[in-house]
Amino acid sequence: MTPDMPAVIQVENLTKRFGDFTAVDHISFEVRKGEIFGFLGANGAGKTTAMRMLCGLSHPTEGHGTVAGFDIARQQEAIKKNIGYMSQKFSLYNDLKVWENIRLFAGIYGMKPKQIAAKTDALLKRLGFMAEKNTFVEKLPLGWKQKLAFSVAIFHEPQIVFLDEPTGGVDPITRRQFWELIYEAVEQGITVFVTTHYMDEAEYCDRVSIMVDGRIEALDSPRELKQQMNARSMDEVFRQLARKAQRSAD
């Protein structure tokens, strides 16, 4: 863990209301550089809303925060340039070839064509995808797609990458290979902010926060949390906390 590292996400009393419904209720936390931060919560606990605010897609009702050093309420465009994002639902264009997807997303983040070309080959070699450079993404197995999507999300070397349930529906071996990619990214100094429903994956994280009804109910390393709550697994920790939930739907 990295207590001496500078914070790359800093949030204080962040709140989002929709009418009289408080989706995110005064949450405060810090994520340090090079950390893998697990952002857990039941369906409807407010994870997605909170993540949208961090990515500069949604304006907070109250509170403030910085991501990659930029204010989430005022410098949303600067934030978008300095983060990567990948979700299970949308990641790559199925009807574009592998290299076309890379070029597209790298281009969106303002990389130069020469730079893109050189890095594309390096990336594909590292992933062992060189033979698939001209394959339509549609034709790739799901596990490959997700690995590629992750690599594309960090292609422009962002400070932080946000992963929204990145590993749904993948076989256990591919899931682990995916996490090994995450570890590599962390070794390069990228900070990882991840949501997941696989509680064993929560254990790969340096620290996890668990959201219940829009508030952060617990925030610590998996080991500490298990000790505090006298639980054998993160699954148990999660269940003990989420049981308290009052609201049961989004």
Binding site: A42, N43, E165, G169, E203, A249
Partner: protein, 313 residues
Amino acid sequence: MPTSIAITQISKHFAVGKTGRVQALHPFSLDIEEGEIFGLLGPDGSGKTTLFRILTTLMLPDSGTATIGGYDIVKDIKKIRETVGYMPGRFSLYQDLSVEENLRFFATLFNTTVEAHYDFIKDIYTHIEPFKKRKAGNLSGGMKQKLALCCALIHKPNILFLDEPTTGVDPVSRKEFWDMLQRLKADGMTILASTPYMDEAELCDRIGLLQNGRFIGCNTPERLRAEFTAPLRAVRATEMSRLLRDLRDYRYCRSCYAFGEFHHISLAPGFSDEDLTGYLKRLHFSRLEIHPLEPTIEDCFMALMQEGGSHDA
């Protein structure tokens, strides 16, 4: 126990483009007993959904036969459609209709009424009844699954097919969902459910493992674990990422994967704990922790996948 679902050498392929062909299911046979919860484990694209569609008469197999409750899946379409409940992988209710409207519609669809079988679904329906006026599209993931289950049960089927009922649902709702299945099983219902979550496998009477359209194993969770004979160790140290690479380089390593805060390493004959500890000490790992371990279903599945060889990536 009498057989509820009998599958004999079922296979299915799909054409891809003009010349390509994907074998979605290689021929396999399987009997599922009455009152059994059978779990079908496998990643996306392993053939789970195809199997469900064949068994629910939505698709014809290339070869082989199957009977559901004694009815043939090709000839007795009508009988089967009356006696099975089916929850497809995607949320397949009407998002713009309310909870209640959905339930009533599906009741009428199966020639029954909500009132007639209310007792049967009561346990599950009480969870969502407070939201009965809410549109299905505005329910949370867990609630949607419960509503879909109610709709699949409304005609009191004997056999229930659930295709990934808990995907994308949080652990608490998943647990509740499986508790409901256990109660249905107690009432004598046969349940065939697929899932990508390995921990759910422990809740099934038997599990079948699917990979790339091949049935690579089928047994009770206990037996599957008993078949895993290689020594297994959980290892932890300060630098987990380097530890993983170095463990894989260890000469007796058969396979090594990250498992939460530990790495699981399965070992080849000739290995000893002293040797492994010595190897890691020489590599200067600090706060080293090694202990023996009972295999989980996930360990078993990964071992079987590796034997099968051709997992994707």
